[in-house]
Symmetry: C2
Subunit: 237 residues, 2 copies
DNA sequence: ACGTCAAATCGTCGAATGTCGATTTATGTG
DNA sequence: CACATAAATCGACATTCGACGATTTGACGT
């Protein structure tokens, strides 16, 4: 009597729903393909269609993909991810829903990104932006849960009262999904911090996005998630 | 600083996702239209298209509606519901996610539906089926949360080890959604019980479905949800 | 600077969508 | 029973999808 994983269907449904409701379905298609780290060519092979079809969608020549197409697309993405080691889906716990946002705070008086570094035991990975820019608060996000729960419309809500803030992602796998999420949403953080991934394991695409967006990318080396949140609470006593 | 309701987007995304991933999108379109209690003609007017278009989709002549169409469809449904008094969406609380299934149990030895009645203080609403059929367990479901969380693929999971059971829905508004959900899924309960709605307020369509499916429909008059669950625990000590 | 691989572009074409309107077929309700 | 009203059915037709393959453009590694 095997146990069924409820998150599974949830993930697929969320993705499909987001694509369908998206202003530009093509953008959403691309977003998810990138999050899963699959190339157009590769995915095209799985779907047994020509890569140009995918490109045509993503770039907007075809603007309203049919339900059938979206379904095959999403199912292929997820199935392919499930098949390989270290995929997104493997990280999703069966239980534990809700609570993607672990903490959210505003500072009374702002501090620079550089000053913020020591609270998270941070190591700089990308710094095309400006670490001396002021930040006015931070948000800690469980990146795994965020995949399931937040997206598109909800994502901007993690910015509190102001968007001059640091976004801290925990349980980061490679950093691909968080960075792509940031890439495609409007308000952008001043600083991004990953926790749970080794500096050497950070996804290259993630770094590239950080550089392109001019957002400094930091890896926190704090022992664990709990301590990280603890340490952050010490700011501005 | 107006508060944003996160469930809102969630609901729409869930519906859109379900339609998109559905084996037969047309069936899903119909399901949700019926749940929201809107006629084809009415909805067609809102969408500024001919009613036959909707019929064509629902009956399957057009099998793969485009993202654009689905989006307009879902948005129209939800918007229209939000506009009117006593709609589905008004019932959805902003907070409180997860936990649609309040209780689930299997009996050691089966009992008849009629015997089950007294545990829920039940009043018979429809009885084209057989109240003397044996039931082997029950599942208590928060019908509001079920709309958001369960659907299609997840729904069958509320049947425990056996499907010869009673499904008890709490926080029932008119009983439309639960009955339609039952109508469109494969394993069907032997008995359906509503809690939270007055016998006179039960949706006519719901009753009709119950009769057509030959599933006895009962209204529980137990004071409140908590007591209902309590009382049920007393079965087969 | 060259080669490679991913992605973008674009012309083309059959099939399916998206839409109407007219006509039937239920399904009630007085 | 007959008349509204909802829904199903169907022929018609313009638009777009869904798909291919050839050709550019873009990034990156060496």
């Amino acid at each position: 009597m095997r146990e069924k994983n409820a998150s599974k269907d949830l993930l697929e449904k969320n993705i499909a729903g987001e694509i369908t409701l998206s202003e530009k379905p093509g953008k959403a298609l691309r977003k998810w393909r990138e999050i899963f780290g699959i190339t157009q060519k590769n995915l095209a092979k799985t779907l047994k269609i020509s890569p140009s079809v995918l490109s045509d969608y993503e770039s907007g020549r075809r603007r309203s993909p049919g339900a059938e197409f979206i379904k095959r697309y999403v199912l292929a993405l997820v199935a392919q991810d499930r098949r390989k080691e270290g995929g997104i889906t493997g990280k999703i716990p069966e239980t534990a829903k809700s609570g993607a946002v672990l903490d959210i705070r505003e500072f009374i008086k702002p501090m620079t990104g550089r000053a913020f570094l020591k609270y998270v035991n941070g190591r700089i990975i990308a710094d095309e932006g400006d670490l001396d820019k002021k930040i006015y608060g931070y948000t800690v996000i469980d990146s795994i849960k965020a995949i399931l729960e937040l997206s598109d419309t909800q994502f901007p809500q993690i910015y509190g009262l102001n968007n001059q803030r640091a976004l801290i992602f925990t349980k980061v796998h490679m950093g691909r999904s968080p960075m792509i999420a940031i890439k495609v949403t409007k308000p952008k953080p001043v600083l991004v911090i990953f926790h749970g991934v080794a500096p050497s394991e950070v996804d290259k695409l993630a770094v590239k996005i950080a550089e392109a967006e001019k957002i400094p990318l930091i890896i926190s080396l704090t022992e664990n998630e709990e301590k990280l949140v603890e340490d952050l609470k010490k700011i501005e006593a």
